[in-house]
Amino acid sequence: MSSNKKYWKSVEELNQNSSIVKRLQQNEFVEEIPIDKFLGDKETLESSSTTRRDFLKYVGFTTAAASIAACEGPVIKSIPYVVQPDEIVPGVANYYASSIADGFDFANILVKTREGRPIKIDRNELSKNNGSVNARVHASVLSLYDSNRLQDPLISGEVVTWEDFDKKVTNKMIDMAGKDVVLLTQTFASPSTSRLIKEFTEKYPNVRHVIYDTVSSSEALDAFNNKYGVRALADYDFSKAEVIVSIGADLLGDWQGGGYDAGYAKGRVPKKGKMSYHIQFEANMSLSGANADNRIPVTPSQQSLILKALTGGSTSGLPEDIAKAVSKAKAQLNKAGNKGVLITGLPNVNAQTRALTYNESVGSIVIDIAKPKMVRKGNTTEVLNVLNGVISGSVKGLITVGVDPVYSFPNSDAFAKGYSSLEMSLAFSMKKDATASLAKMVAATPHYLESWGDTQIKKGTFGLMQPTINPLFNTRQFQDSLLKWTGNPKSYYDYIKETWTTTILNGASWNQTLHDGVLVSDTEIETYETTLIGEGSNESSTSNSALSTSSKEIGLELTLYTKISMGDGQQANNPWLQEMPDPITRASWDNYLTISEADANELDLALPLSGGLFEETRNSANGGLNGKYCNVRLGDVVIENVPVLIQPGQAKGSVGLALGYGKTASVQQEMQTGVNAYLLYQNFSSVQNVTLEKASGIHKFACVQLHNTMMGRDIIRETTLEIFNTKDADVWNEIPMVSKDHKMIKVTDSGANLWSSFDHSIGHHFNLSIDLSACTGCGACVIACHSENNVPVVGKLEVRKSRDMHWLRIDRYYSSEESFSGDFEKKENISGLDSTLSQYKEMERASANPQVAFQPVMCQHCNHAPCETVCPVSATSHGRQGQNQMAYNRCVGTRYCANNCPYKVRRFNWFLYAQNDEFDYHMNNDLGRMVLNPDVVVRSRGVMEKCSMCIQKTQKTILDAKRDGRTVKDGEFQTACSKACDKGAIVFGDINDHDSKVFKLKKNNRVYRLLEEVGTKPNVFYHVKVRNIKEG
């Protein structure tokens, strides 16, 4: 019997005559839905002849029509050259040797061009230890295709022809006769330009030439000048060093022009039981500190005490533990004798002199005084004169070349005011930057890849710069303008050739030199740069109150630094560099105040690690890093809303802030990131005393690494030199054990294998070797990978959502104890539930002065790849050459592979990044797309991508060999990252070639594989990092 129960929906139903009940029987809703409100006017709706059915018909028809029309292929035009240049074969790359000398980065490079477009920068391997091809240099090719570049010369903001421009300028120069005109330039390190400027100042004697380095090394130059009579920088070869003591010198960063990391890395790989010992005293956590064997966080004022103590003074005034470290360092230096070196980054002539004197006194073989580096020339005293002269009005005219003083001078507001009212203001600039937008006359200059030039980066080593593309815009280089204005009919090319044939070449062939790009010659080149010898020794001009111990403790000591990505900020509009994560903080698209946890807590600048539902914590729910804001005050200057990032290893009482950010003029909206720290660069001294005030708001960082510690696991294996030298490999490099049939066996045993192996014995078998001892974390490989593989830029918001697309990342780990071995011990000793929970929690936090380790991670190209087995459409498969291949056109975007990858190296295209207004970076304009590598496909939305081990490069090498009918020589196989690594940390090659370097490296006892216990059998292997830790 079915139930006759009646269910009431509401009390209303009891009332028989309820209108609501009746209405509800017919209508779904009690009240009429106000359709008119969202459909518009009722009358027009009714009078419309289109009924709903018609509408659906139209929709159906148009959809069908559109889809049928889409089946028709588009007509594609192919337009060949009318007259094809001899050297261009479409589809074949040409390489040109050239040089970069932008005032901040100096290096000899090799430019890869396709169909006349430069697409990639490589190292010039003919150039030995000469300049550093760092991440910025690799990225500079994209700055060539910057759509914000100046396209024509301007006079009062109007576009003019070069003829008119020349007329106006020469007239103006005649008007200015007798008045003080300053030619403010970057450092060129160029013999020809230096000769040319001399000719120019001879013709116009009222012009004085002042060199301005945006980031100054003036004190080091002064010290060297006073001591050796040459305004240059001592060169160092750290590969010869046994003991390196650095006091605030970021020798792996941009210290004194940079470029020391390759030599340094050579000394870090243990050879015959020996490697260099590196002690770093510093305030900010720098790359050098991260790589040092012993890092002691000290404030800048302590640094000068330490320097004094190391060079003959006493350790009085220093805290006990630091004093102990100093005497240890001193003992080490003494032991090393002439194989020790002492360097300092303190912006102080006395300090620099002390270091030089020390190195001289021990006869250090690391330092090279005979052939110093010429990459910085600026003199702070002179620049300050100009700065004050423009403000006071005593300087009447200013010609700027390659520098942007309105942006980078500390008192930029006052300077800008003085600058706008100058009688003559002429800016040579690639962009309408802050200076150029105020200048009355703007000469548009070409990018260095469109220019001729020469360099003398190190005394006696000369380089040539040659154009690799016709100028994209109506630009003319500075030197050609000077030649015009001095009445010289020569082109700058002829002028360089003249300089070289008369002085430098010494009978060597010009064509061969141009082909090689570099020439080592003993020629002495006269440099005409005026120097104020004597004045430089005056310490008062540059010394800072922060350096004297007597300064009263106000606020915190700020050390201004440059990031490996942004440098001095001239490439601020370069999305590759914006998106490149800082090697230490792993944050991109920002600069920030780095502060120690203790100071942050004291000043209430730290966000809590965990909190209530509505409380802001250090990490958002999606993991994104948050920080508070603060206002940084230095005298009258206040920078508001500087994001605060808590930096493990930051010396207590010190803060750090990167220069080069906060640029707005000629920078695209998305890339106007960070704050302008040059405002704090008073007297061009990188050390300042500042006070902080808490500001409101929460800053959202775009940080790519959110888990900072290894929790005692052996993701990065390391050992000490002592253990490495004395113990067997299985002590410090144990093969992981797995359980089979309740017995522990080695993971390398055949029994531990579930899968049948691929046969790699025939043909090539590619392997990539990464030496963690040699890797300094510089990130040149990251940008090289970007430019080789058309990796898209996703922007700050997407990076924050962990959707960054880097195929190659450099993981940075902090230890949560004093050292990583401490972490390991702690983990081993955990027992019981309580301690498990609490101690693991503790291990997530980095220690106050942690050990740091770097690890480049790209696709590991597993021989038993977990990604391959889960792909439902076989889009990813294994190649017999060892590469894990990814067929983008086959991928349907299930992302199973990324989820099954233990290394998290697969990247998903959440959006279409090319030709999409939402991602307005280089792939979204015609100019920027010229940098794309035509041999690598630009991936579309919904597709997984990852490192391909540069299969386009290996395939090309194989094809070249086949075509020539020869075998492949070792060293021919390269990936973008291995080619970019000048430290030899990344080596690529064919292990079936038993004479190859990579085969030998694979036999090394330091070899291990990442997460080997998973059994993925990767084709990428790492070398155990060896630290030179000395007890006692």
């Binding site: 009318v82 589809g91 190649g879 395939q955």
Partner: protein
């Protein structure tokens, strides 16, 4: 009688002809020799009726003194330097371009050449175009006629059948013969009532539909047979077929690059600087007359900025916007030099008989299946290539074969073409 007369007159005429021929053979030999010498030595810079690098040569023999011509041809620069007025004028008239000296030509040779250049210009042959048109149209019309005739016959049959039926019924009614009219259920109703049949036929229809749908979808983006009209009617048949120009002459980058390269116009001008007139076969049916071809050559001159009258480049270049025929998608990497230089594959293997194509078309489907098929079937050409030596030995041992296919060599791995 009349016939006999005609025959005799014919014979007489023929004899006359023979006499003429005998007389002219000697002359013809001279002209033939002259032509050969002209083509070998002079044709690079001179034409008979048109200015090329040098002036047109027809009739020049009459204009100048024979001895002077010997000197000029044997050593023109010497003549100019000696201050000969005529020589200097000619030199200046022709943009001061220096004529190569031909000391190797004897006087007889020069006489032969001059004999050839002194020939009168042949009258252009005008062919009655109506005849040609009639000829070509014939087959098309006849097909249609046959079809129409067949249709007419068929229609007639139907009409006759109906008429016969009607007449018979009329007769039957008239004669009172009763014929049974069965009220049968229509066949479609029977069909609908039979559920099994409905089911089977639905499945059948779906399968058929699926089959055709699949076929339709699979040919999307496959452009086999695509032969667009190009901005300049370039005939591969004339160049590669009639004139036997090697493919690599124009598509030179096929040997060393991933692209075969569309030749730049300066490559065309290597030959067309001298060849401004087409004088090969015509295809009147398609409208490919001599004038048509000459017009196309003129288009080339226009694009490259070549002034035919002045024989100079004007510098006004208009790049030709060719329409691309063979177009692989961006995600597929193909390298010509791998196939042309390393493997030694004939161009025709993928591009078809290009030398017979008046208008180029895509001969093959260029689908992945097509690529892979070939890689499965083709043996890798490893002979005399140091690169393959070791690999070949090892691979042939592994597979137990002497010849290794591209597929066995790893030529069908995804990553070899997709990156």
């Amino acid at each position: 009688m009349l016939a006999l007369l005609l025959t005799i007159s014919n014979v007489i005429n023929a004899q006359d002809e023979i006499a003429k021929v005998v007389a002219s053979t000697e002359n013809e030999d001279v002209i033939k020799a002259g032509k050969a010498l002209f083509n070998a030595n002079c044709a690079a810079c001179h034409k008979l009726d048109k200015k090329a690098t040098g002036p047109a040569l027809r009739g020049k023999a009459d204009k100048y003194d024979r001895e002077w011509l010997y000197k000029w041809i044997n050593n023109s620069q010497g003549l100019i330097k000696s201050g000969d007025a005529k020589a200097i004028t000619i030199f200046e008239e022709n943009n001061m371009s220096i004529m190569t000296s031909f000391p190797q030509l004897s006087h007889t040779d020069i006489d032969n050449i001059l004999a050839y250049t002194s020939q009168p210009k042949p009258e252009p042959i005008i062919i009655e175009s109506s005849i040609a048109e009639g000829g070509s149209g014939e087959s098309g019309v006849s097909n249609n006629i046959i079809l129409a005739a067949l249709a007419l016959v068929f229609l007639l049959l139907v009409v006759m059948l109906v008429l016969v039926n009607k007449t018979l019924r009329g007769i039957a009614i008239a004669s009172g013969v009763e014929y049974e009219v069965k009220s049968r259920t229509p066949i479609w109703k029977v069909f609908v009532q039979n559920q099994f049949l409905v089911l089977v036929s639905t499945i059948f229809l779906l399968l058929i539909g699926g089959y055709f749908m699949f076929g339709f979808l699979m040919q999307i983006g496959v452009n086999q047979g695509y032969s667009p009209v190009q901005p300049i009617h370039f005939s591969h048949k004339i160049h590669a077929g009639d004139n036997q120009i090697d493919c690599n002459y124009c598509h030179s980058s096929a040997r060393k690059s991933k692209t075969s390269g569309i030749p730049s116009l300066n490559v065309c001008m290597n030959c067309h600087k001298n060849i401004s007139d087409y004088n090969g076969e015509e295809n009147l049916a398609e409208g490919y007359t001599l004038d048509f071809y000459n017009g196309e050559i003129a288009k080339l001159y226009d694009a490259v900025g070549w002034d035919v009258d002045q024989q100079v480049y004007t510098g006004e270049e208009k790049p030709v916007k060719w329409i691309r025929i063979h177009n692989l998608p961006d995600f597929a990497y193909f390298n010509h030099s791998q196939h042309v230089t390393v493997a030694g594959v004939d161009c025709q293997k993928c591009h078809g008989p290009v030398e017979e194509m008046e208008i180029l078309e895509q001969f093959v489907p260029l689908t992945m299946g097509w690529c892979i098929n070939c890689h499965r079937e083709t043996n890798v050409n490893m002979k005399d290539n140091e690169y393959y030596k070791k690999i070949h030995d090892e691979l042939s041992k592994k597979y137990g074969v002497e010849q290794i296919t591209a597929a066995q060599f790893g030529g069908i791995e995804c990553g070899k073409c997709h990156y």
